[in-house]
Point group: C2
Chain length 338, copies 2
DNA sequence: GCGTGGCGGGAAAGCGCTTTCCAGCGCTGC
DNA sequence: GCAGCGCTGGAAAGCGCTTTCCCGCCACGC
């Protein structure tokens, strides 16, 4: 146990070259090394099972191979899809992904960013949805500044007015298009199961949906806010049912909430789509096999993760770049004509 | 941009103390520092926005705060649940989780382990399912040895004869109990949608299921192997249907495969559970709202992640420890009396 | 023949921290 | 009164690497 790790110095000594030469061979510096020495070093390194000490490299180079990924909840398929995209790109670039979960606590996001700064992470992707809480936002902004000051790059997925690179899904436009499509099905009275009022994503989707209804000349929807989770959707749907609303179609601002809502409807004997149509947002792959199949707005989540990682990994200028990603309305069995 | 990072030396100088003292104050060494100096250091550190350089600390202490987590596919809810458990425990312990995904390629697992070794990760949780491929296993074993040699700890989730700490779900026992429960429903002819033959988890579940059927005096099931994914389940179910098997109940070795299978059945007009009962394994939370609700064997996935992280984080002896986790049969609407 | 420049190799100075070792000092015990 | 001890503070030696700087060597041109 605990045999000491093989160091570059040992490799160099064994190969009969200097530390500098060994280093140059084993990490591909700009400097040339004669083939003979190079071979010798490579061979000894192999024999000894040399693995460079990443901390030492990071220290000497003043830059690490870490990329941060901050999500609210990795079990939420929305985030795990994005995470998959980010890790794929990062791993291809030979980088290592550090996963941080916030449990939706803004202060945790700040902590994580600070930890990542301590590790001199090269970049970080913030996949959490921004809030409108001013205090939290400004602390976060300060951390982000500190992080970029230090030479790290930051990208956000979803709305962010933080001056960072951003991948922006078409929340507003997608929800608006969805509303119009649903209106075309003949529905006149709508309800929306919204997320927490301070979540920008939730607000955008709600606003977009309202706009779409307005486009179609339909009265504004009943809005019920719940947590941004399956249970939030469940509770909100129950509330909707007890409210005696006469809505015939309900839009849950995420697929996950829609699942909860459908469970609630089912329990109360409300049939989908016969008694009530329901639509979600995101088009979570794992949920595509549900019955009735959920109408939704498809977002290329994994691709969004890739895009964010791409933004954050190529140097880019000082300009904050924004990549827009469109949502595509997908009507399935959970919404019917009315 | 790129303002130089505040170092301990600057803090020390500013506070008028030595480097040693500053270090002692800011990281809580065993040594005492007078309250006066301590306060001064703390205050200056705060003022300057000092954040210790994790790489330098890791180098000096020869141990980092990184914990590796290796999974096949983070979008698979099985893994994302485990990941959630691991990250929770790690974060509580003040550690940082490095996420690696293998895409089910054994060599990638080895690579990741080597990277984690380079980073002097303190520990790693391997959540991928072991295979029976001897070559791959031995390379992995070598990497694991190298890792532990260097002082790191390794834990596996699910079967592993690699001499590491392990969290073992009751795959065999769970599947066996499930088979008996299904037999009690009156089914006589069974089919199993198994995973790839070399996956230990898949084999165990299959073996357990067979044993359970034998217990009930029922003929062995038709077995169709497919990929360990939703699509694998879908394909396998199609194959089952075209095989003209007369099974009335099918067991998919994972919930995710069961979802694919149900989709296939639905497409072919086979009603669940009227025409065919179906059961899965894992009890993935995200899938609990599906209709018909899936009968399955519940595994406390998130808790398993916590257990694995726990094993790998408390020092423990040299003994490889094993924690067994029981599966609990949960019959729901997808299985009916026959 | 000698200055020049390019090139491969090595010595050594860091990178930012931890930790050992030593110095000084105020107490205690005889 | 003094040796001895415990305690706090600082100097300095690393930790394992990268990279600058320098040196010697070998064409080459005049």
């Amino acid at each position: 146990m605990s045999a000491r790790q093989v160091t570059l110095a040992e490799v160099a000594k064994q190969a009969g070259v200097s530390l500098a030469t060994a280093s140059r061979v084993l990490n591909g510096s700009t400097r040339q090394v004669s083939e003979e020495l190079s071979d010798r070093v490579l061979r000894t390194a192999e024999e000894l099972g040399y693995v460079p000490n990443a901390s030492a490299q990071a220290l000497a180079r003043n830059s690490s191979s870490l990329v941060g990924l901050v999500v609210h909840d990795i079990t939420d398929p929305y985030f795990s899809c994005i995470a998959a995209g980010v890790t794929r790109v990062a791993e291809e670039a030979g980088l290592v992904v550090v996963l941080g979960t916030t449990g939706r606590r803004p202060e945790r996001e700040v902590e994580l960013l600070s930890t990542l700064r301590a590790h001199r992470a090269r970049a970080v992707v913030l996949a959490g949805s921004r809030t409108t809480d001013r205090a939290a936002q400004s602390r976060l902004a300060a951390e982000i500044d500190a992080f970029t000051e230090q030479g790290g790059r930051v990208a956000c997925v979803s709305q962010a007015k933080l001056g960072t690179d951003t991948v922006v899904p078409g929340n507003r436009a997608g929800a608006r298009a969805l509303a119009r499509s649903l209106a075309e099905l003949g529905h006149k009275r709508f309800a929306v199961l919204g997320g927490p009022a301070e979540l920008v994503v939730a607000r955008d989707r709600l606003a977009g949906f309202k706009a779409g209804l307005a486009d179609a000349g339909i009265a504004p929807p009943v809005v019920i806010n719940g947590a941004f989770t399956r249970d939030g959707g469940y509770e909100a749907a129950l509330e909707l049912l007890t409210s005696k609303s006469r809505a015939t179609c309900v839009f849950a601002v995420t697929d996950v909430m829609a699942m909860g809502a459908m469970a609630a409807l089912r329990e109360r004997g409300v049939r989908v789509p016969e008694d009530m149509s329901i639509a979600g947002f995101d088009d979570i792959p794992t949920l595509r096999d549900t019955v009735p199949a959920l109408s939704t707005v498809r977002l290329p989540l994994e691709h969004m993760g890739e895009l964010a990682a791409g933004l954050v990994l190529d140097a880019g200028g000082d300009e904050a770049r924004t990549v827009r990603v469109a949502g595509e309305v997908v009507l399935r069995a959970s919404t019917a004509h009315n």
